[in-house]
Amino acid sequence: MSGWVTTALIFLPLATALLLWALPWPRLWAGSVATLVALVEVGLWIASLPRFDFDAGLQGEQRQSWFSDLNASYHVGFFGFSVWLAGLTVVASAAAIAYAWWAGRDRPRAYFGLMLFLEGAVVGLFAAQDLILFYAFFEAMLIPLYVLIGVWGGPGRMRATLTFVIYTMAGSLLMLAAIIVFGLHENTFDLIDSGTGDSAWVFLGFVIAFAVKAPLFPFHGWLPDAYREAPPEVSALLSGVISKAGAYGLLRIAITKFPESADDFRVPLLVLAAVGLVYGSLLAFQAPDVRGVIAYSSLAQLGLITLGLFAGNDQGYDGAVLQMAVHGLLSTTLFLLAGGIERRTSTGEFALLGGMARGRPALATLLMTTGIVALAVPGSAAFAGEFLILLGVFDQGWVWAAIGAGAIVLAAMYMLRLISAVLHQERGPAVTDAALDLRPAELGILVPLVACVLALSAWPAAISERAFAGDDATGAVEAQFR
């Protein structure tokens, strides 16, 4: 895998975004160009996959000095797990952009430019091998998100978006402090060159930033509003892709670069993750609307992924990566479906929905399939991920696995509640005959996503044994991916 592919994956959407903003495209072109570019990204990623050697370390590497006195550079490349996350990003972005194109958005040039900008920033984040570059992409994501939610969001968007950005900024700024302290101590900001740090404070700086971004309990104050008010495809990316940035950061930086602190703080973090898992599940159970359930379930899932990451063994790491990819796809699909439902009924309130399965087989099938996989029915990809995570964390103490297993029962409760409140029972007052089944375009967007999930259900090892070089997760982490 050539380094230019990595760079192209990052900068193709960014450049297209600039072009969209700068040139006076005809109204209908913006969406088409954006969708096309998003698909090209997917193609590029797929084409690069066969050339990726999953038994080796960093690939698709490119390095260019940025400023040498602090030893920062434009250094990008992919590991096994990051290539999957990048894949998740391009796939989910393509779906989101195509969905927006189909649904139609006001001021398309601005809108699609921002979406592409977001995509580029996230891919860059997963590829960055330099802390300053990583941070730059981490923060750059916020710009499009702020505007996308603030301009195209729902009625409560102002509060939602402001809370979201300020909260995440506050977290990530702590990380900036941590990065600088770490980078100056190591005399380089390069993730490959630098050694391990031993300062617990620096570690916590990173952890809090990622915990806010993910979010982990109790740093999720921004989550419900943001997920509810954003346009559905933006919520999809938020929960599907961007939340993974937090988990990725924990894996790539916090755990890898601070092995001692990670060990010292293992139990508190496991506690937070477990509490988040249960808490998110319980709140999802009482959420009154579709997006509320998905939002809180996302909180729970990120807690689960964190459990896996801090299990500290192969199963935990592999499972976490697998679960990141699977939850990303599922969450994207669910939010797009929620968007479809809201489009038809102009509400997501359970009290007003119901009975949508009748006469809408495609909607019912897709929502049912996605929901059932999302509640981790055994045999599904999500089950595989959760199984590995809990298997891994069992080694840290059976109680974690027991809590996790209990939370999965709760997951079944809230997800079935969602499914039946939307699809089953009596027809809700907001559901009219004008609410049609999914259109072919929507199917064209959603079916590939679901197909990916089902394919992963048939072969989860595709990711789980290809997440780390030679499927030696612990070894790779101990070697700091060098």
Binding site: W21, W66, A136, M158, A170, L173, L176, A177, I180, L184
Partner: protein, 499 residues
């Protein structure tokens, strides 16, 4: 005998090239002054603007040349000033800021009186600044300060038919003179305490040893910090800033926010590092405290502002705080950080005020967050630019200010003052709120709240202003990408000082 002595006085050699950065705009000012007196009324604006702009272009060229040709610092005119890369780089930034200001000011007062003098004063201010950054003794420092300050006092009040302009001018004048007087008394005390003349280098030579913690010297130092802190609008010496920034003509505000900061901070760095290395413990702590105060007051004060100029004024206070962090670090990384930071900061500040100026002209009313509404959609270029400047001010990539903060914080960490970084980080988090408020106004208001341009449609396109905004944007973002060349520049410039 007296006559004979007079004839025999050996006048010092004058290095005209070294002096060129302040002299060139001064010459242009002279030409423009003549023009604005003798040229016909209708041509005065164009004539003055073009002459002054050319002067600034030449100043850019000369300061670049001086930078290039001055790897080793040397004295100018009997060591009254220094010809070194620190000064040259600062002059370069000042020249750029002044040039962009001409573009911003072009449409400001087409039919007003004294339009020629307006540009003239801009040029004298710029040349005074250019001089002050190179000044190397207490007297030239003081004179340089007064030189550009007086120009600015007049510029602030130049809209004499506006009460607010006069108010801001008078406030600036009185508090400014007060600050100058304090600075002067501080100079006097330092002069008295060290007894070695006025040269900064000589002061350093004598201020060590048993004078290290001499009370008179320290009180003098406190007064100098106060006077310089006043100019860089650092808290608690900042209080003139919001009023003056708000009341002054917007292009003047733009110029002040960018260029005055450069001068004040570079001079602060030069004076402290050159003259008071022995008192480092004192002034680093003081500067750190001032930085913290500025960060706190600037950011908290900005939270509740509605007037955009005032908001940006508070933001400039907070950025003064950020830029004082590397000075407090007192290391060569700090020098680099400060000089790097100034470049994107100056550009962003100029650009933001430029957009405000454009909006102000369009609306014929002061720009508030409310009447900014919808500008992003109606004036795509200007609105987009203002949004980007706001993002850059927050320190979000890809604005150069992000790396400015990284460098500033690195300098503090390098000194071991991580707590200062934490303060900076918290301040940034607070600042997010009001910068986002600008963007919210630009793009996120409901249609009903949009403030459309007044009847008569959109004003004629102001190409000069747009060009200035575009140039500012380019600087802000290019400084993010091309860090190495800028850092090299800054490193060599900081090398002029003995850290």
């Amino acid at each position: 005998m007296i006559l004979g002595a007079l004839i025999s006085i050996p006048t010092p050699e004058v290095d005209w090239v070294g002096l060129s950065p302040p002299l060139v705009p001064l010459g242009a000012a002279g030409l423009a002054l003549l023009g604005s007196v003798f040229a016909p009324q209708g041509a005065r604006r164009a004539l003055a603007a073009v002459v002054i702009a050319l002067g600034f272009v030449a100043m850019l060229g000369f300061s670049a040349y001086v930078y290039w040709k001055s790897p080793d610092a040397q004295g100018l005119v009997a060591d009254a000033a220094r010809r070194d890369r620190l000064a040259a780089l600062a002059q370069l930034i000042i020249a750029g800021a002044a040039l962009l200001t001409v573009g911003i000011a072009w449409s400001d007062r087409p039919k007003q009186e004294h339009v020629g003098e307006y540009y003239v004063l801009l040029a004298t201010a710029a040349s005074g600044m250019a001089f002050m950054v190179s000044a190397s003794n207490l007297m030239t420092l003081f004179l340089g300060l007064e030189w550009f300050s007086l120009s600015l006092y007049v510029l602030c009040a130049i809209d004499i038919e506006l009460p607010t302009s006069l108010e801001s001018g008078l406030k600036y004048l009185i508090v400014g003179s007060f600050g100058s007087a304090v600075l002067l008394f501080g100079f006097a005390l330092v002069f008295g305490a060290t007894g070695g003349g006025l040269q900064l280098a000589d002061i350093a030579e004598r201020a060590g040893g048993d004078l290290k913690s001499d009370p008179m010297l320290l009180v003098g130092l406190a007064m100098i910090l106060t006077g310089l802190g006043f100019k860089s609008s650092a808290a608690p010496f900042h209080m003139w800033t919001p009023d003056v920034y708000q009341g002054s003509p917007t292009p003047v505000t733009a110029f002040m926010s960018a260029a005055t900061k450069v001068v004040a901070l570079v001079v602060t760095l030069r004076v402290l590092v050159t003259a008071f290395p022995a008192q480092e413990d004192f002034w680093t702590a003081a500067i750190a405290a001032i930085a913290v105060a500025s960060l706190a007051i600037g950011n908290l004060g900005a939270l509740v502002q509605r007037n955009v100029k005032r908001l940006l004024a508070y933001s400039s206070i907070s950025h003064a705080g950020f830029m004082l962090i590397p000075i407090a670090a007192a290391n060569s990384l700090g020098g680099r950080a400060l000089l790097y930071y100034l470049i994107p900061y100056g550009a962003a500040s100029l650009g933001a005020f430029a957009v405000v100026a454009a909006r102000e002209r369009e609306l014929g009313a002061p720009v508030t967050l409310d009447n900014l509404a919808g500008m992003g959609w109606e004036r795509p270029f200007l609105g987009f630019s203002l949004a980007l400047f706001a993002f850059a001010f927050i320190g979000l990539p890809p604005g150069g200010l992000f790396l400015g903060k990284v460098y500033a914080f690195s300098a503090a960490v390098d000194r071991g003052w991580t707590w200062l970084v934490i303060v900076g980080v918290v301040a940034t988090a607070v600042s997010v709120y009001y910068y986002l408020a600008i963007i919210r106004s630009l793009y996120m208001r409901a249609e009903a709240e949009l403030q459309l341009a007044p009847a008569g449609g959109s004003p004629p396109r102001d190409i000069a202003l747009s060009a200035s905004v575009g140039a500012s944007l380019a600087v802000v973002f290019a400084s993010f990408v091309f860090v190495q060349p800028l850092i090299d520049l800054a490193e060599k410039a900081a090398g002029s000082l003995a850290f």
